[in-house]
Amino acid sequence: MDLTFTEPEEAFRAEARSWLEANVPRPALPSGDTREGFALHKEWERALFDAGWAVVSWPQEYGGRDASLIEWLIFEEEYYRAGAPQRVTQNGIFLLAPTLFELGTKEQQDRILRKMASGEETWCQGWSEPNAGSDLAGISSRAARDDANDGWRLSGQKTWTTRGAFCDRMFGLFRSDPEAERHRGLTYFLVDLHAEGVTVRPVERLDGDEGFAEVFLEDVFVPDRDVLGAVHEGWRVAMATTGSERGLTLRSPGRFLAAAERLVDLYRAHADDADPTVRDAVLRAWVDADAYRWQTFWTVTRLMDGGRTGPEASLVKIFWSELDVRLHETALRLLGPRAELVDGDDAVWMKGWQFSLSGPIYAGTNEIQRNVVAERVLGLPRR
């Protein structure tokens, strides 16, 4: 593991830092999981894109800089260190895009990626259904062939769709062959949420934002060009995306390093009346974030030597989601009776705590992840 950054990497860090310092909105934008906040976040995404910072690791033709994995991690560290806004484009750029790069056609890549990166078209994920959460292969929303129009007709319901009420498009799985067994006969579709037959109902989340949505589809037409990967092969295509979500790309260490630094600041402000067990918890959160950083650099070193991420991504997902919960829990302990306040400067902690509680649930619950680790990393039997 070589931990020395090269000169170009240091220069990249300096450039990112100075651009972010000059451009990060102050005061902070309202939550991107509200309608008003979402619009402001889209403006920010446009500014990021115009300056070449939206998708640094992508090829230049799609708005990136061809940055290496290390540079991408550096950018993430700087991004969160600067207190820059949440990425409302994340489900597109971090979850769908890797699949598009791997399995999409050139036509799809050319049509979709730049608009995704600039925030002109925002994407949400259509995985869960009322009766299919952890058991994703149990989805029942259907896709019926419409040969006359060279496309498909989608019907059914998706739910817990993050920012579904504000997004333009949704990627999701639909059952295209009802006769096939569970994991077969699914197809991966790219759906226009403004199309006829789509109804979106916002659902208020634990933290009060309308960040969730239910998406109802009634005979919604999707042309053939919006099938990603092969027909009936959607499960395999979808697994490529969940790998990204659990692993490196969705939640890089930068976010937690920045949160841990803010926690240390909070501790220092309350050190006089903090009990020793809270001190230990603050330290544990900080070390967790640092451990995640070095685990990531170690992984990246292995990837650059030709390795691949596989089910190990589940370990990473468990780690960051649980560290995030502990970190915010500790902040609330430091705030004591004032932790309940959801106005004022310290409200970010209660807000962040509520959001952190979703981490062990989304992107595959941590119970499922522990099964994946046991079965696919350690090799224990499925049944």
Partner: protein, 309 residues
Amino acid sequence: MRDAVRSFLENECPPKVVRDAWTNDTGRSGLWPRLGEMGVLGVLAPEECGGLGGDFRDLVLLLEETGRAALPEPIVEHAAVAVPLLEGDRAPAAAAGGVTITVAPPSGLLPYGADADLVLVGDAFLEPRALSLRPHESVDGSRRPLAMTTPPNSISHAVTEQAALGVAAQLIGLTDRMLTMTVDYAKERHQFGVPIGSFQAVKHHLANVALALEFARPLVYRAAWSMAHGDNARFVHVGMAKARASEAALLAARAALQVHGALGYTTEYDLHLWMKRAWALAASWGDAAWHGDQVGRAILDGETTPEEQ
């Protein structure tokens, strides 16, 4: 070299050798000169002293292997602490495994003291007969600690850092081995007509061990990098490594025992040899709490140097 050491230890230090060390005269494996020949003892010694001229980045990988094998030797004290401090013709002898050196920790309990030729006390290499020592038994029957009547009154930061990082590397190897052993057992042991490893409760115990290991190991490599580069914050990095490696090993031991059930609770089965080494080493050269304090002083209080001992 790591692969060579791993395969050497797989062949030459099977569980029987570890077990025999509990009852033989020395508490040791008999492999010391061959470890010297392979260069494992002299990784940190300069080439002109018969060493490999390597640094901690090389050494931690090999110490991890000695932990995986539960090698019963004072190799951390000898190779990570004593060898780089030696001068004159003692250095080639130590690198070659001609002598065995243990080191006095703050507790004054000298690991493998009964069979050591020299003891590093503070900054002096002393012969054991020059010290007032009382023999003890350890929970790990190979370690045979000797207790100094008067523990050393000061130990340099460098010694503490080198020993703690070496032990951390061994704890990573021990953790990895206990996990592998337990996974293998959980695949083979059937109850209710199925392997116990198919039960979710068992899976989650073992996933938690894999998690602790995955996020402790890079901290050891990172601390080794800091040692090799003389980073001023190396005491913080070593502290994180030793704290997390100790926790991972204790968790692994606990989960391994639980999954092995009553079999793991016997001394006929090999698991206890690894478990007891982990218990001893987790508390050796600073436990998780002590190292946590060191890290806390730096991260929370802004101290830039380690605490005096």
